[in-house]
């Protein structure tokens, strides 16, 4: 039994209206406590619907969603959903569009206050979150609308981290950021995963990130889970990924080319570090 469990879940948008559309079908999905799960699939495959189900923003049309010790079915009332949200934090795509308070500190403290923290507690948590995402104390009293896009993104992420969630869902958290910003933010999430044991679910189109950070991958296609496994298992079959409109990390592509030329690896390399580690002894041996 994992921390998050979806049992035969279906989700339909606007059921019983002329505009009914099935978004998810017969989803079985398990996430273990402290794991780092990546959700991949091309646009419109149901990734966003799935993460909304996990946070109780929508109810399943049929089947059961279990998050920590909350169970959600089609007939659950909205009180149960509110309870569930305490455990889960979501960083939505372009989360800077959720900022609204007069100061950065107030905006970050907004979430904890909603979940019952006192003003003093919320402010303390907000300061901690600011430090986590790399915002110095002089940002605290600034208006979030005077900041740059990257800084706003950090404020928004700090606002989610301030909820102190056990489960953190990231929907393309680095979209539109520059290269160094992307690396910083992704490393922060990995650090939270390793040091504080926060369970992470990452929705992404960036296969390099999947290879580098995730330890479990689910592939969605047309509202159904078509494959799951470790990144190594998923990326080993490049042909299959291409057929499902997905790409593979550059490293694995290089490795595949080397295999085609006659090299062989005992274990398929995923990241640049792994590939170079395996190549160096081979190159030395050949000399």
């Amino acid at each position: 039994m994992g921390q998050i469990e979806l049992n035969n879940v279906d989700y339909k948008y606007q059921p019983d209206t002329p505009f009914e559309a099935t978004a998810l079908q017969a989803i079985n999905f398990t996430v273990e406590t402290g794991s780092y799960t990546a959700l991949i699939g091309h646009t419109g495959s149901g990734k966003s619907t799935l993460i909304q189900l996990i946070d109780g923003l929508i109810k399943p049309t049929s089947g059961e969603v279990t998050v920590v010790d909350h169970h959600l079915t089609a007939t659950s009332n909205s009180k149960d959903l509110d309870q569930l949200r305490k455990n889960v934090g979501i960083v939505f795509q372009f989360p800077e569009s959720q900022l609204f308070e007069e100061t950065v500190l107030k905006d970050i403290a907004f979430g904890p206050k909603n979940f019952g923290k006192t003003d003093a507690e919320a402010t303390a948590i907000a300061k901690k979150s600011m430090a986590l995402v790399g915002l110095t104390a002089d940002f605290a009293e600034k208006s979030p609308f005077d900041l740059s896009g990257g800084q706003m993104r950090r404020v928004a992420i700090a606002g989610v981290l301030a909820l102190e969630p056990e489960i953190l869902i990231l929907d393309e958290p680095t979209a539109g950021l520059d290269a160094s910003g992307q690396a910083q933010i992704m490393n922060l999430f990995k650090q939270l995963n390793v040091e504080q044991g926060i369970t992470i679910i990452l929705v992404t189109h960036n296969m390099e990130d999947v290879a580098k950070y995730a330890n479990q991958v689910y592939v969605l296609n047309h509202g159904a889970i078509v494959k799951s496994g470790t990144p190594r298992e998923i990326f080993a079959n490049q042909q299959w990924l291409m057929e499902n409109y997905l790409t593979v990390p550059v490293t694995t592509r290089v490795a595949q080319k080397l295999i085609d030329k006659g090299y062989s690896f005992d274990e398929f390399p995923l990241t640049v570090a792994e590939l170079s580690q395996k190549l160096i002894p081979k190159l030395k041996g050949e000399q």
Partner: protein, 266 residues
């Protein structure tokens, strides 16, 4: 939240009505609304109901859609009909209490009011279900052209209308997205006191305003960089074409008008 709203939605299928010129559809549906108020007896209402039903069938849109269009207004309809029944005097009195009374005239008036609502809603739903919003905007522009003579900025109004219509779905998506983000941060839109609920709108409204203004600025820059300099002296890509079917529709409605006035004499 907005998924239940069907008013103003377009259903893209192909039918005789879908192919009509949006100008004729707009004018004819407005004309029909006026016409409904000329009906004054059972026969004329039955006649108009039959023509409405015929039009609905011609659109090939499922009847379910029209029902969805009426449903949100059902409370207003019932309230008006009830007031009409209870407060109308005349004819045989069936029930009487203080200022309230149910009379034969009151019942008849109630049915008439109900029919008026029903027919008008159905016909306007025909217009919106069969015409894409942008074409309605084009039709409005075309029909307003004579106002250019009295210096009404018709082209600017038409552009505003097109942009506004284009951004309704975008802003709705945006609202839903922001609501989800704030709900994930613990805002509760559906419980608590009235004041608390009103306060919970702030975290939606402020981001929404900001994103709308940002979008407007970006759009304006993009339009200027593509050579937009104002309404006049621009060509039109979507050209409205008056076809035989439009003339037939107008003749048809003229015949219906004639029929209605004949029935009034009965």
């Amino acid at each position: 939240m907005f998924t239940k709203v069907i008013l103003g939605r377009y259903v893209p299928i192909d039918s005789v009505i879908h192919r009509l010129d949006p100008r004729s559809k707009l004018v004819l549906s407005l004309y029909f609304i006026v016409l409904v108020f000329f009906a004054n007896n059972w026969q004329s209402y039955a006649f108009l109901a039959a023509t409405t039903l015929a039009t609905i069938l011609l659109t090939k849109v499922q009847l379910k859609f029209f029902w969805e269009g009426i449903r949100p207004l059902i409370f207003i309809i019932i309230l008006t009909v009830l007031l009409q029944i209870v407060f109308s005097a005349g004819g045989t009195v069936y029930w009487h209490w203080g200022i309230f009374s149910i009379t034969s005239m009151g019942l008849v008036n109630g049915v008439y009011v109900f029919m008026r609502f029903f027919l008008i809603i159905c016909m306007s739903t025909v217009l919106t279900l069969t015409t894409p919003p942008l074409l309605i905007a084009d039709a409005v522009e075309s029909l307003m052209k004579p106002l250019l003579k009295i210096k009404v900025p018709v082209y600017e109004i038409a552009l505003m209308l097109s942009i506004a219509l284009r951004f309704i779905p975008t802003l709705m998506d945006e609202t839903q997205k922001i609501m989800n983000a704030q709900r994930a941060r613990g805002v509760n839109f559906s419980s608590g006191s009235l004041i608390k609920r009103v306060k919970s709108i702030v975290p939606i409204l402020i981001p929404l305003f900001i994103s709308a203004f940002n979008r407007a600025e970006d759009l304006a820059t993009a339009m200027e960089s593509r050579g937009y300099r104002g309404g006049d002296h621009r060509s039109k890509f979507r050209i409205l074409k008056w076809r035989g079917a439009d003339t037939i529709a107008c003749v048809g409605l003229a015949a219906i008008t004639a029929g209605l006035f004949l029935l009034r004499l009965l």
